[in-house]
């Protein structure tokens, strides 16, 4: 009997405790910087698209929500002709970000993506592409990779030695 009254008193005292609820729209919760939210496509510091349309993100995606078509421009750079992410399917696992060799696809801290129409959750390339480099400020894939494009031949990339002449006999 006494324990019941004690229980009631304890519960009553909870009236004066601080509430655990975070009243969300007015009061934003803490979002860690590595939060896996809305996916973006970043650009390199020179303003070019980072994505090289290698399809690795589409392959890695466990729910097949990424669709793209590779193309090549006149300089020999590959780029996606279209890039489409269906966010109504996306599970925000971050596998695409891990798979990306060019740091192009990245997950951000934005999670407020509510829509009234499901179709509006399908993001096209112009919705995904941002102007900045995202999490990797200085990185430029074509400037560091050994791929030859117009204006940069093999061996001319940063930290890259000139190609070895395999037929030469000099050490």
């Amino acid at each position: 009997m006494l324990s019941l009254l004690k229980t009631m008193w304890t519960v009553f005292l909870h009236l004066f405790r601080r509430k655990i609820t975070v009243s969300y729209p007015e009061e934003k919760p803490y979002v860690p910087p590595r939060w896996r939210g809305r996916i973006i496509l970043s650009c390199d510091p020179d303003g070019g698209e980072r994505c090289v349309a290698c399809y690795l993100c589409a392959v890695a995606c466990p729910v097949d929500c990424i669709a793209l078509q590779a193309a090549e421009d006149e300089h020999g750079r590959r780029y996606p002709e279209f890039f489409r992410i269906n966010f109504s399917r996306c599970i925000f696992c971050g596998f695409c970000e891990e798979a990306c060799p060019a740091y192009a696809i990245q997950l951000t801290t934005d999670f407020e993506m509510g829509e009234y129409k499901r179709q509006n959750l399908v993001y096209e390339k112009e919705d995904l592409l941002i102007s900045g480099p995202g999490k990797y400020p200085g990185y430029n894939f074509y400037r560091t990779a050994g791929l030859s494009i117009e204006g940069k031949d093999k061996g001319e990339a940063e930290n890259e030695l000139p190609p070895v002449d395999v037929r030469g006999i000099m050490p």
Binding site: M8, V11, F12, L15, T21
Partner: protein, 318 residues
């Protein structure tokens, strides 16, 4: 003519006031439960979430009002009406302030006891008419629970009746001018509160409903406004029992400074909050524990209270 209008005003005033309280309790209960669980509860619709009641009402009116094909149709429809009616009828004998009440019955207390027993029919019939096993189990439990708790609910009030010398609720309040009956009739109060909780089948004595065992017990098959009626009936029951505790044991409208009617509603509100606190804190006992508590503890207690009160009254020669 003027007399008739006055009566009509009182009748509709009482109806309106108590229906509003019962409706508002939806919000009060959710808010208070949330507060006691370190949450906020509904606070979005209107100021402090007060319009939640309206939103809930709109929703429940718009719901499909479905009657299961295996149900006993007329009884199924009638059952929720009975609970609201019997609860509303009991309010007629309550004196809100000196002279303010729907009827001034000199057997007011007996009328309340009769009406609260009628309320049981609603639940038992609902459980029976639903034609499903969980509902039937709930109805059965309600019948047994009411049967055992009705007995000493009446007995616990007899001490008050003896001290006041009247069944009239107004006279009982007047008799508390010197001292509220909660002090001399402490045992009666305790027994009445416990049986009142059982009478309104609120937690921790909500065995007819028992979501965790019987789905929703007697109203498992109900939907839409019929379900709403059961809910309003339950809240009306809480209001009624709280008002009666205030009237019978805590001096009803008596109190300093404020006008009598304000005191009546303040006291009632405190006990309503008590009901909700009970729900927030206590677990539901097992069915046999409930019965054992009723017959083995509460009945002897109320009988002892009755005897002692009678003996003291006789000895002091009142």
């Amino acid at each position: 003519m003027n007399d008739v209008t006055g009566h009509l005003i009182i009748i509709f005033g009482v109806l309106f006031a108590f229906m509003t309280i019962a409706g508002g309790l939806i919000w009060v209960e959710r808010r208070l439960l949330a507060m006691w669980q370190d949450r906020y509860g509904p606070n979005r619709v209107g100021p402090f979430g007060l319009f939640q009641v309206i939103a809930d009402m709109v929703k429940i009116f718009a719901k499909e009002d479905w009657i299961p094909p295996f149900a006993d149709k007329p009884v199924f429809v009638l059952a929720p009406v009975i609970i609201v009616l019997s609860a509303l009828m009991s309010f007629t004998v309550l004196p809100l302030a000196p002279g303010v009440g729907v009827v001034d019955l000199n057997i007011g207390l007996l009328f309340f006891l009769a009406m609260s027993s009628l309320g049981v029919y609603s639940i038992t019939l609902a459980g029976w008419a639903s034609g499903s096993k969980y509902s039937l189990l709930g109805g059965l439990r309600a019948a047994a629970q009411m049967l055992s708790y009705e007995v000493f609910m009446g007995l616990s009030l007899m001490g008050v009746v003896m001290m006041a010398g009247s069944f009239n609720l107004g006279d009982i309040v007047e008799a508390q001018k010197g001292m509220w009956f909660c002090i001399p009739q402490f045992l009666g109060l305790a027994v009445f509160i416990i049986s009142g909780v059982a009478e309104t089948h609120r937690l921790p004595f909500d065995l007819p409903e028992a979501e965790s065992e019987l789905v929703a017990g007697f109203h498992a098959e109900y939907s839409g406004i019929k379900f709403g009626m059961f809910f309003v009936g339950e809240y009306l029951g809480i209001t009624l029992i709280s008002a009666l505790i205030a009237t019978l044991f805590f001096g009803g409208w008596l109190g300093p400074v404020f006008p009598p009617i304000v005191w009546f509603f303040i006291k009632t509100a405190v006990f309503i909050c008590g009901f909700i606190l009970l729900r927030a804190s206590l677990p539901r006992p097992r069915y046999d524990q409930l019965m054992a508590l009723g017959w083995k503890v509460m009945l002897p207690l109320s009988l002892a209270n009755l005897m002692v009160t009678a003996a003291v009254l006789l000895a002091t020669g009142k």
